[in-house]
Symmetry: C2
Subunit: 346 residues, 2 copies
């Protein structure tokens, strides 16, 4: 294997590194008046509301660099924030990126990270408008803030779900979690035995879902194209169960979802079987799929049913009926937030 070039970040310093990483960035959004290079970025939103979301990702907690390439990490770090703007039914416009790096990282590493970041931003027409690059004693910390916009009457909150609304999910669930299991398994194999080639064949989709999630701006566009405005919406980062509980709690409603309706990919099912895990549990609690979970009025049933890539998984009920999953054999189980929670007692 060819040795990769390694240039110490200290040769550039903080400002040199920021300049190096952000040079050549073209600003594409009308709302971006001024980007990197001053005390603050300057944006303009005269006609729409401004949406702001932020995330902090820590090495060893949110990502493991032994199997996550830095380019994918940059891509994913941007994408998860972009996804939050779509989840408000908005359009992502700008991001700021703050990084804290230990000495282990080189300029080439940061180039890789930024390559992924820029790719994700290019796909969603998002401008990189600022940030902060500093050092850390151990590991990598990434903080991204994404700014977007939406006309006031188009914004979709979590608290608008109404009784009889249909509960919809885009794409399929559980694959990102299965991808993580797969990477963790291969890491263990790799740790125990050198010269091993991880066997990922037939499982590419799971890896892609874990390493290169896609924010569902396409679904937002499709819904708008059909004249459908969801009554409540979130992106699924912590698992369907956890997110649905958020929507129901904030909307003061209950829900029923059907196990048989939960969208699954074939590879997810195969992998769950291989790992002796219940695939429904994985889909309910896995997280990191970054699909959209939303509710629509019953009147949109026909339109929604005909839209590709969207599945109706259940409906909203009165609050006193609670939140439950109906299994294939007709049993009712209360939904629990067993999704990924970094601060939970383990």
């Amino acid at each position: 294997m060819q040795e990769k070039q390694r240039t110490e970040i200290a040769t550039l310093g903080e400002f040199g590194l920021i300049r190096h990483l952000t040079e050549g960035i073209e600003l594409k959004n009308k709302s971006t008046l001024y980007g990197v290079g001053d005390d603050a970025a300057v944006l303009s939103y005269p006609d729409t509301e401004v949406l702001v979301t932020t995330d902090l990702l820590m090495e060893g907690v949110h990502f493991d660099l032994t199997y996550v390439p830095l380019k994918h990490l940059g891509y994913k770090a941007a994408m998860v924030n972009i996804s939050d703007i779509y989840a408000m039914n908005g359009t992502p416009r700008q991001i700021t990126v703050s990084l804290a790096l230990s000495k282990r990282f080189s300029i080439e590493d940061m180039d890789e990270f930024y390559a992924g970041l820029k790719l994700a931003c290019a796909e969603h027409h998002v401008d990189i408008v600022g940030g902060d690059t500093t050092s850390s004693l151990t590991g990598l910390a990434i903080s991204i803030t994404c700014i977007g916009d939406a006309p006031k009457d188009k914004i979709v909150y979590r608290n608008g779900a109404k009784e009889t609304d249909l509960i919809c999910v885009s794409g399929d669930l559980g694959a990102a979690y299965m991808g993580l299991q797969l990477l963790e398994r291969e890491k263990k194999v790799f740790m125990g035995q050198k010269e091993v080639n991880p066997d990922f064949s037939g499982k590419e989709y799971l890896l892609e879902r874990q390493l290169k999630p896609e924010a569902r701006g396409d679904i937002i566009k499709k819904l708008a194209g059909q004249g459908i405005k969801p009554t409540a919406m979130m992106d699924i980062s912590d698992g369907l169960s956890s997110e649905l509980i958020h929507i129901c709690t904030q909307s003061h409603v209950g829900c029923r979802i059907y196990e048989e309706r939960i969208p699954l990919d074939y590879q997810t099912a195969v992998m769950a079987e291989e790992l002796n895990m219940n695939v429904t549990t994985c889909a309910l609690n896995g997280g990191e799929d970054y699909e959209l979970l939303f509710t629509v009025p019953l009147a949109d049933n026909e339109k929604i049913s005909q839209m590709e890539g969207i599945r109706i998984v259940g409906y909203i009920t009165k609050p006193e009926l609670g939140m439950a999953l109906i299994t294939r054999d007709g049993q009712e189980f209360e939904l629990k937030a067993q999704g990924w929670n970094p601060l939970r007692e383990s």
Copy 2:
């Protein structure tokens, strides 16, 4: 000493902790439509431009919890971002706060941090509108994004300084750095010998400048009140020298500043002498004072000279004259960016 209560964060979990920390937060700004609790905050800026700035602070690099109380840390973390909005001649309106915590931190610790954060926000009428709370393997990471606004024609960039403009500084410089030296010295004493009482008497101002910096919104108001719009402006976070170089480089100009004009507090001078350091060097390169550095047209000389808390330290020149400090004995020294740079080779 009474044992402080300690409640593990795991007892609340991520969402519980966010709810606990943000409950009772009242939104005070007209521009804040929706704060904590959804995928993104919703803001409204129909008549002004939006300013966005962000910072990432890492334990062991940016702060040392052996001598920085968490309440002060929260206060300072908010203040340094608020300061960046003032440095654009804007008004801070909202912040988002992301924290990554190791198991060492308790709910009571976070209450302390948030108490400081809320105090800083209350003083500057800033709303806490969102954030992220997660775990870290080691130490504390804090990422704050501050959003503010300014009418387009009032925004002051770094790149507008013109030949003959006056260079102005608010407050005094070097005290925050002296405060840091003092704390570091007492830490060493404390580490070597228990039961020692740090001797801070007569040095309270230095500690306050280090532990409780104040963003200079008052200066921004005063300037506006006098009808003065700076041609370029920054806040002094890395040291006067480094910031002035930023302004001159981005404005394509040179400068002359006078050693005898640099504003110093008496305590700063005493402490520098005690530590056998050159006080001018401390003021030029110390950083963390969060005072404002700005340039104004020569025509504003009279008005500026009469304003309390502002000192004219020099003037802007043609670029070919370079950037220099004139010492008390009339010698010229080229300004160098020796301010704090976390990524510089040490």
